[in-house]
């Protein structure tokens, strides 16, 4: 079976600086892939390249058998790749439900000639709201649907971000430190949700994470980056016992 996502010899130069050097990786369907490495090792840049937020200097990105290397962020999103950020990027002045409904495309109520007349789009909106309810249920935020996003806890904000990504029915979710700034207990819960989404909906996750103790409990496969290079890859057990990784990463 071909992997869902394949990176072939990706390179990214910023001026004279090589942020990512010849990285190749593959993510199978229905898996949680960890991407770890010290600060500045090029993990976030790699995420940007995949999502189309930056353009690689060389190399190809293959998604579901299709070359998406040169597509715009918008087009990549449409192909089924969604991403979350380290800092929760939400519409804090809107309710949880509104935040989840925002990415829905091609609604009648988006047209100015229909928008003022509720009856033309209320039915459609109800359908979207149903989908939104399902998604919120998946991340266990349903009881907060009418809360302003700014009133959520840090962990809930992360979950809301994931829920918003799910509205686009993605096949692959790129998450950049989903537990940053979140209490350990909540961080663990976030990963539990992620695992459930993988199991119940077959979504693949590519997760940049510093909290290895949590990541290692959930990840199916781990890539380690160092100074823009791929240092090692393997299952959690393999990585945890890899001498090179231990040296650069854990300093022993």
């Amino acid at each position: 079976m071909t992997p869902l996502l394949q990176l072939h010899n990706i390179r990214k130069d910023y001026g004279g600086l090589r942020a990512v050097d010849d990285v190749s990786l593959a993510a199978p369907e229905n898996a949680i892939i960890g991407l770890i490495g010290p600060n500045g090792s090029g993990k976030s840049t790699l995420i940007d390249l995949i999502a189309g937020a930056a353009e690689q200097t060389a190399g190809r990105v293959i998604f579901a058998g299709e070359d998406i290397s040169d597509l715009s962020a918008d087009a990549i999103f449409k192909k089924g790749i969604a991403r979350g950020y380290q800092e929760p990027s939400l519409y804090f002045k809107m309710t949880v439900l509104d935040n989840v409904l925002l990415p829905v495309k091609d609604q009648r109520g988006e047209r100015p000639w229909y928008a003022p007349w509720r009856r033309y789009w209320a039915h459609e909106e109800a359908g979207h709201a149903e989908a939104a309810v399902t998604v919120l249920e998946q991340v266990q935020l349903l009881q907060h649907y009418d809360t302003l996003a700014s009133d959520l806890s840090g962990g809930q904000m992360k979950l809301l971000e994931i829920a918003r990504c799910l509205m686009g029915k993605p096949k692959l979710l790129l998450l950049d430190e989903p537990t940053a700034g979140v209490a350990p207990k909540l961080a663990y819960e976030i990963f539990q949700q992620i695992a459930r989404l993988r199991d119940d909906y077959g979504i693949t996750f590519l997760i940049v994470e510093h909290r290895l103790e949590i990541l290692f409990d959930f990840a199916d496969y781990v890539y380690v980056m160092h100074l823009g290079n791929l240092l090692a890859e393997g299952t959690v057990a393999e990585i945890a016992n890899d001498a090179t990784v231990r040296e650069v990463y854990f300093g022993d």
């Binding site: 519409y91 804090f92 925002l102 109520g109 988006e110 047209r111």
Partner: protein, 306 residues
């Protein structure tokens, strides 16, 4: 202050305030969603007024048809100015000040296109041919059919726009653009399309305001420009971000220009020629004392925030 004067000035306040509100909401909306203080807004008003005038001169006196024509022409003028000027400029990532200046420039261009047209067809200082009548008279209170048109139309349009913004999917996206346009792009909102729709609404409302303003005064290429400072004062009172604040601001400006002005004239002999200075005083006072205007004075939905 004689009771007749007080009554008339209050009626004028409501009537003119409603028109200011209709014009000022568009300014608030463009500022929030597009981050653009658009001085060409005045010209969308004038374009709408001329559309209404031409329709009425062609013999169609159905107010609804006149309004729709004014809406369409105002909306189209706004959309064209966006597509031809503002959008390419935004693409070049120019500064805020360049955008303000370009809004002045495009306003001038539209104004002098209208001037040329008005000169060619001799359409100066004409009035939309709906005769003015007294509908209601009780003591000092006199209400005309103009009042009956202007006030409900404005209020209904303001309510529709508020609902659209707060309840509809389009409004949700407009609020998202106002709050964080980069995130809007990231989560796949079709930003350019939402912008186009916003321009259509802004221009359309300005056009309708122009048609109604043309009933209040005479239609002239400078009529929108003549009102723009008062309208900006109203929007600034609304903090350029709050719908309810903008509507309140519109009535405050109209109240100052009518009732307060006449009160000062009657009691302290202040010259009526002072009237155009009032919106400037309001603007300066707001900027000095309360730059956020009425925003957050009453916390509520409809604030587009910044």
């Amino acid at each position: 202050m004689p009771p007749a004067l007080l009554t008339t000035s209050l009626v004028n306040t409501i009537q003119i305030g409603s028109l200011y509100a209709l014009m000022a909401l568009g300014i608030t909306l463009t500022f929030s969603v597009m981050k653009l203080p658009n001085f060409a807004h005045a010209e969308y008003v004038t374009a709408g007024a001329y559309a209404a005038l031409i329709v009425s001169l062609s013999g169609v006196l159905n107010p609804l048809v006149i309004m729709i024509a004014a809406f369409a022409v105002g909306a189209l003028t706004a959309l064209i100015s966006h597509l031809a000027v503002f959008k390419p400029l935004e693409g070049r990532d120019v500064s805020f000040y360049t955008l303000i200046l370009s809004s002045f420039a495009i306003g001038l261009i539209i104004r002098y296109i209208l001037f040329t047209m008005a000169d060619y067809f001799n359409l100066f200082d004409l009035r939309i041919a709906i005769p003015l009548q007294i509908l209601f008279r009780e003591g000092y209170l006199i209400l005309s059919n103009l009042f009956a048109w202007v006030v409900p139309t404005s209020i209904v349009l303001v309510i529709i726009l508020t609902l659209l913004l707060n309840r509809s999917p389009l409004g949700r996206e407009m609020r998202a653009l106002a709050d964080n346009i980069i995130l809007a792009r990231v989560i796949g909102i079709r930003v350019e399309r939402v912008k186009n729709y916003t321009w259509l609404l802004v221009g359309g409302l300005a056009g309708v305001a122009g048609a109604l303003w043309g009933l209040q005064t005479a239609v002239h290429p400078l009529m929108g420009w003549g009102a723009i400072i008062s309208v900006f004062a109203a929007a600034i009172l609304g903090g350029l971000s709050s719908f309810s604040g903008t509507v309140m601001g519109a009535y405050v400006v109209a109240f100052s220009e009518n009732t307060v002005m006449l009160f000062l004239n009657v009691n302290y002999g202040l010259d009526l020629a002072f009237k155009p200075a009032i919106p400037f005083i309001i603007i300066i006072a707001v900027l000095l004392l309360r730059p956020q205007g009425f925003t957050n004075l009453i916390k509520r939905a409809g604030d587009l925030g910044r």
